[in-house]
Amino acid sequence: MGETERAHACTLAEVRRERTVRIKRKTPAIAVNSAKDDLRGLAAQGFTASRPLRTVPAMTSETVPVIELVGATKRFRSASGGVHTAVRDLDLTVAAGEFVAVVGPTGCGKSTTLSLVSGLEPPSHGRVAVNGREVTGIPEGVGYMFQADAVLPWRTVLDNVTLGPRYRGATTSDARDRARDWVGRVGLGGFEDYYPHQLSGGMRKRVALAQTLVNEPRILLMDEPFSALDVQTRGLMQAELLRLWSGTGAAVVFVTHDLEEALVLADRVAVMTAGPATVKQVFDVRLPRPRDAEEIRLTSDFLDVYREVWESLREEVQITRERMSGRVA
């Protein structure tokens, strides 16, 4: 995103709105906005003025964003023959090492955003770039953890984790060494020879996590990975994710409908509109790291941010609910 784009004017109203949600950015490299084309690039001059201390790596103006969606739109042909717009005019930028959570009402099109970034689906319009390059196939260095179990039921834990290195041409023994290391790191040491059906839901998620992380992705896409788990296991997995992520410097886009989860994990939270999804607002989560995933939700700072973001998310949830009840009636 160059100087020319940055120079694009922002309407005063937009600036005010963004201000009220206290978005402060230094560069457009980490800008996220829901504005239309003329606002693309955002980073109105006012935003650079004050930037509170953050625990994420500081951005410099030369840094290229690792993920960049500009006016991305995705339409599907629906089963009834009509056109279903899952994502409309979506702008989202993620910097290296940044943990961004995307929250929105159920079924609004959050997952589609991830499939655009991963290259599994091409956008109908707009631009999707990873590491500054337009996404055409599956980009290098991307890991993706799916909502549903994607571990192979016919392979043992260890053999599941070796998949990535094997696909990428590692020798069997090298792949096994790396897999064994990661199986240990996700806390499954001793379960190498178990089949997935012999494990609990939380343990299967650990396998999926190891399977993704063994490739050492620079970008980690996570699509409601813990939504099927019970509350206690989910809290534990969130803590594990933060532990494994810290120090890797990988950028994470974490999609969830659970605002609490989003705030526990992320540096920034993007609130999506009810479908078709587009970014409504972006909030900075200024909670210190390292975080204790289970304790942090009890602090008053956490509740303050929660209240603020929920204010924005509530409207969208309301819209979704009304649509659902309309369909039921």
Binding site: I138, F146, W154, L163, G164, Y195, N215
Partner: protein
């Protein structure tokens, strides 16, 4: 994960030990009862057949267990009209196994290829439907004309029967591969060939194995019917000859041999299936036994 294990050398049997041993005894009694009733059923069936064929109905048409047994003893101790019984069994078995192997391999290959390629599948769909609608058993007569009285015409019949049985399952199995698994493999870095080998083939395996059970039955039917239509050796020829000489005991005897072969094959296939699908959770039969 580990359960508490009773300390070795524990003295008196605890309540739990007693409960376990009484549960085991109950299972044993049940098994014994099931086997006993089965044997009783067979005895009643054979006994009433034997009696009614001796006193009520004409054994010329319906034969009777003792005559069938005598026929089998005859075949195995002396010889059949066409040479040793073992030669006949080995002929039929060779034809069935060859037809099964060729038909199975061809069915799996074509099924997976078509299952993965929408375009080819769309093009070939009407032809496959038509081929499936042909009463394939009639082809046995055609194959005798094409390939003669030797083994190859029977292998061809077995092949065509097995092929369709396996093909449709492999096709379905390759189509029903979980998209999530394929996407996950793509993200992990798999190419097309790697996806085929590590995702598609293993997921289709349970479909294919299910079809192999009925497919071996089809292979035997193909071989026997082929021998019916014209052969110089084989169990089908024995049966055909028995029919021609109004030897109903001979027909039953041939039937029993074929049934035994099919049962052994079924048992081998179950072993193979267990070996290949050991990753699956235990079947629902292994639920907790009530104490």
């Amino acid at each position: 994960m580990s359960h508490d294990v009773a300390l070795p050398g524990a003295a008196a049997p605890t309540d739990e030990d007693l409960a376990v041993s009484s549960a085991r005894a109950a299972v044993r009694r049940r098994k014994l009862a099931v086997t006993g009733v089965r044997l009783l059923l067979v005895a009643v069936w054979l006994g009433s057949w034997e009696l009614s064929a001796t006193y009520l109905i004409d054994p010329f048409y319906y034969s009777k267990p003792s005559a069938i047994g005598g026929k089998l003893v005859d075949w195995f101790t002396q010889t059949t009209a066409f040479g040793s019984i073992w030669t006949q069994i080995s002929y039929t078995l060779q034809e069935a196994v060859a037809g099964f192997a060729l038909g199975g391999v061809a069915g799996v290959l074509l099924g997976i290829v078509l299952g993965r390629s929408r375009f080819v599948a769309d093009v070939l769909a009407p032809f496959i439907k038509a081929a499936n609608a042909i009463p394939r058993i009639v082809l046995a007569s055609l194959f005798v004309i094409w390939f003669g009285l030797g083994m190859s015409s029977k292998i061809a019949t077995a092949f065509i029967l097995v092929f369709f049985a396996v093909f449709f399952n492999a096709f379905q199995g390759a189509r029903e591969v979980d998209r999530g698994l394929v996407n996950n493999a793509r993200i992990l870095g798999a190419g097309r060939a790697q996806i085929l080998w590590t995702i598609v083939v293993p997921s289709a395996t349970s479909w294919i194995l299910a079809s192999l059970h009925s497919a071996f039955g089809f292979a035997i039917i193909g071989a026997v019917v082929g021998e019916y239509s014209g052969a110089d050796k084989g169990l089908g020829l024995l049966i055909n000859n028995a029919q021609g000489t109004f030897d109903s005991a001979g027909i039953y005897a041939g039937m029993i041999i074929i049934t035994l072969i099919a049962l052994v094959a079924e048992w081998l296939l179950t072993l193979l299936e267990r070996r290949l699908l050991r990753w699956r959770p235990a079947a629902s039969g292994s639920h907790d036994v009530q104490i």
